[in-house]
Symmetry: C2
Subunit: 446 residues, 2 copies
């Protein structure tokens, strides 16, 4: 345990741009399940709130620890306890980085599919706690599809092992799924049994296509999905995000309005699928490039990977995370354009187009998100819900979006979820004020 | 609503062989969500227990309705409300049969992957309520992987829409997953948004291989899994089940001890995968047959499909459903042989070998399961749990296995699950005595 001011200060903030108002009481860096259990027992006895932390790469403020709270970090619990190629599973501690795990698994010809953009710096435990998505989800699933079981320390310090090592298992309620995406509100994930895949054999083909407008790029991506081919990656950049990324890479600016799709196919049918996708794109795009060379493919993806530095070059960013049915993506881009006009804000947007998950980046000046930006975000969230979508596809609710949770769930389901939280945590010690903020706090901006 | 004696009598029993001791009060055949809501409001006001029923094809007694209870059937709610090929989803009522849904989806080039052996006669709502598995799960996932959202009428008659139409969505707790496999204890599923797949293009190849013992068949199936190829179907029949199936089909009896694997590959790599599987099998098998002809493939699967009539020819059957990590399957067959010897019972066994899910069939005379059979089953369940497995892979707990639930979950998790049930159903009206039987009842045999 430490009360070092730098450690306390660091525990206040994740990568959302939001920080807790005050520093936590202490930071506990657990080295073992026993450390976590001891911490929770002390917390229960003293009714001290606990905020579980991993690598603090979250984008919703869910792991920010504040005044009167213990920051319980599992970032040092990084062991891989078991890899079974025969059963295609691994048992790991929560603090291991996603990329470090996959580097190890590659030596066994295996991989864990969840691939958030943060995978080099985010932990497996954090991926599970947020129900992380990524670029490959349309083809290879989200975190929920890749976890067989979790070991959880409850608020009272007891240890419960949920789920199975077997592929199938329906013994009672599926508490493993309930933990996935629970954002530290139900218990502390201290171990996970992960469902792995064999490394995909065959080629990787990469395509890029330029379109005269974002609406046409979105329509083309919907056409690819509707054709039945399954790209591994399908990323869309609107004109503003494409321009910013080209700017930081020193490339020529795209022509006015131009938007881009970047698509990868893999597996035994990679080449055939790339050809049929290219046919679909050529009917709509001004320029289509295709390569079977992996290095050249990485070069084509470089522009998409420059999105974050591109956004940083424009100002401070509130990165949002709406998700809509794939057929409604073009309409969602129309809504984003409307919100830009109505609120006078800039919202460069990229999308995981294969699964309808959009990241609108609200640009502003200064450190704190101004009220006008939240009003624009509110307008945008409601539009996504109207289109049959959700206000968060993969980042979670945390502290930043708890205000809108009941709008999407409805009052009855919101109360049901809160009652389940109370079953796990009757004293309200686990990540208080996150996800299920008290109703009277919801009237204020976060 | 009816109190017709035949209807009441039929509502007492599913296909497990177990029936409720008495007839229910009444059978309500709901035609709409409003009917379900009205039934639950009356039940709440009068504190009358309600047992939700579909096609009554369950194998754990979960939907059996007994004395003092209302049997609430949703079998007449069979509409397909929406099919979106672009979003690869369908919205359906719960009473539609799995096979009827897939017949309709085929006209759109789509399918819903869960394929319980009962798919011709079981409902989608029942598949969800039990978390049904099937033959294709190792490659195409279980029910949990194929449901985006559920509409649920709660005990008090209120309607809650859980989940999303979008591929991604992490808004609060994952109540959709909690409903999957909840066996009527949390609410009445009145609608579902299903995640569909495109019809798989390419060939289907079918292989059969004969082995001198079940242990060698199990080892061969583990070798296939470990090689990384993904068969769509991989079914194992031990000597006793193979002999019984051959018997009812009028085929020659297999040689002493002989056991069989039946494997299908599909998709763009079907032929290449079938060849590499054949290479693995030939190292161990006495005979391997391969065909790319679909009709001939169905002929090879005919023996496996004759399992149920084969068992019926031997006596009355208690069909069990343990699941183990795939690498432990040969050991599980050793345990089954030991249980047969120790308890003097016959347990012909088939397995979904691709995912480690075994169906041991306990054979006995008469209508009621004798205590000696339950003692043998108890021994077998404990063996499965010792091997890192579970006492139910896809049939559920129902009334028949509630006695063992706490053994697998541990006392703490059992209590946690029961407390969650109480959040949904504070009056204890939904399927009382199922899954979470009171602890003092657990000492008796079901």
């Amino acid at each position: 345990m430490t009360t070092d001011p730098d450690a306390l200060e660091a525990a206040r903030r994740d990568r959302s741009g939001h920080a807790a108002a005050e520093r936590p009481l202490a930071v506990v860096r657990a080295a073992s399940i026993d450390d976590v259990r001891a911490t929770m027992r002390i917390a229960s006895e003293t009714t001290t709130p606990v905020v579980t932390q991993g690598a603090l790469t979250g984008l919703a403020g869910a792991a920010n620890a504040g005044g009167g709270e213990i920051a319980l970090s599992v970032a040092d619990m990084t062991r891989i306890l078991d890899v079974s190629p025969d059963d295609q599973l691994a048992v790991v501690e929560p603090g291991i980085l996603n990329a470090a795990l996959n580097e190890h698994l590659a030596t066994h010809g295996l991989w864990w599919a969840p691939d958030p953009a943060s995978r080099e710096i985010s932990t497996v435990g954090g991926n599970i706690a947020t129900g992380a998505g990524g670029l490959l989800c349309a083809k290879y699933g989200v975190t929920r599809d890749a976890v067989l079981g979790v070991d959880v320390v409850l608020a009272d310090g007891s240890l419960v092992r949920m789920g199975h090592r077997s592929v199938k298992g329906v013994t009672g309620l599926d508490l493993t799924s309930l933990m996935i995406g629970s954002e530290g509100t139900l218990g502390v994930i201290v171990g996970a049994t992960l469902k792995l895949r064999r490394t995909v054999p065959g080629d990787v083909c990469t395509l890029t296509a330029m379109f005269p407008s974002v609406r046409e790029a979105a329509a083309a991506s919907s056409a690819v999905t509707a054709s039945g081919v399954e790209p591994a990656i399908m990323e869309l950049m609107d004109h503003a995000s494409l321009s910013a990324a080209c700017g930081v890479l020193g490339l020529d600016a795209p022509t006015s309005g131009a938007s881009q799709l970047t698509i990868q196919t893999d597996g035994p049918a990679a080449t055939a699928e790339a050809e049929s996708i290219a046919d679909i794109l050529r009917r709509r795009a001004s320029e289509v490039r295709v390569t079977r060379d992996r290095a050249e493919g990485e070069e084509l993806l470089r522009i998409r990977r420059a999105m974050h530095p591109g956004m940083a070059s424009l100002g401070t960013t509130l990165i949002e995370d709406v998700s809509v049915p794939r057929s409604r993506m073009a309409e969602m881009f129309d809504e984003i354009a409307r919100v830009e006009r109505d609120h006078g804000v800039r919202i460069p947007t990229v999308a995981h187009a294969g699964d309808g998950n959009l990241h609108p980046n609200f640009i502003f000046d200064g450190e704190e998100v101004p009220p006008g930006i939240w009003e624009a975000a509110d307008d945008l969230f409601r539009a996504a819900i109207r289109l049959g979508g959700t206000l968060t596809g993969e980042h979670g609710i945390g502290v930043l979006k708890s205000r809108w949770l009941a709008d999407e769930l409805g009052e009855k389901q919101w109360q049901l979820q809160r009652d389940i939280k109370n079953v796990f945590d009757p004293q309200g010690l686990l990540n208080p004020g996150k996800v299920f903020a008290p109703r009277d706090e919801l009237l204020q901006h976060p």
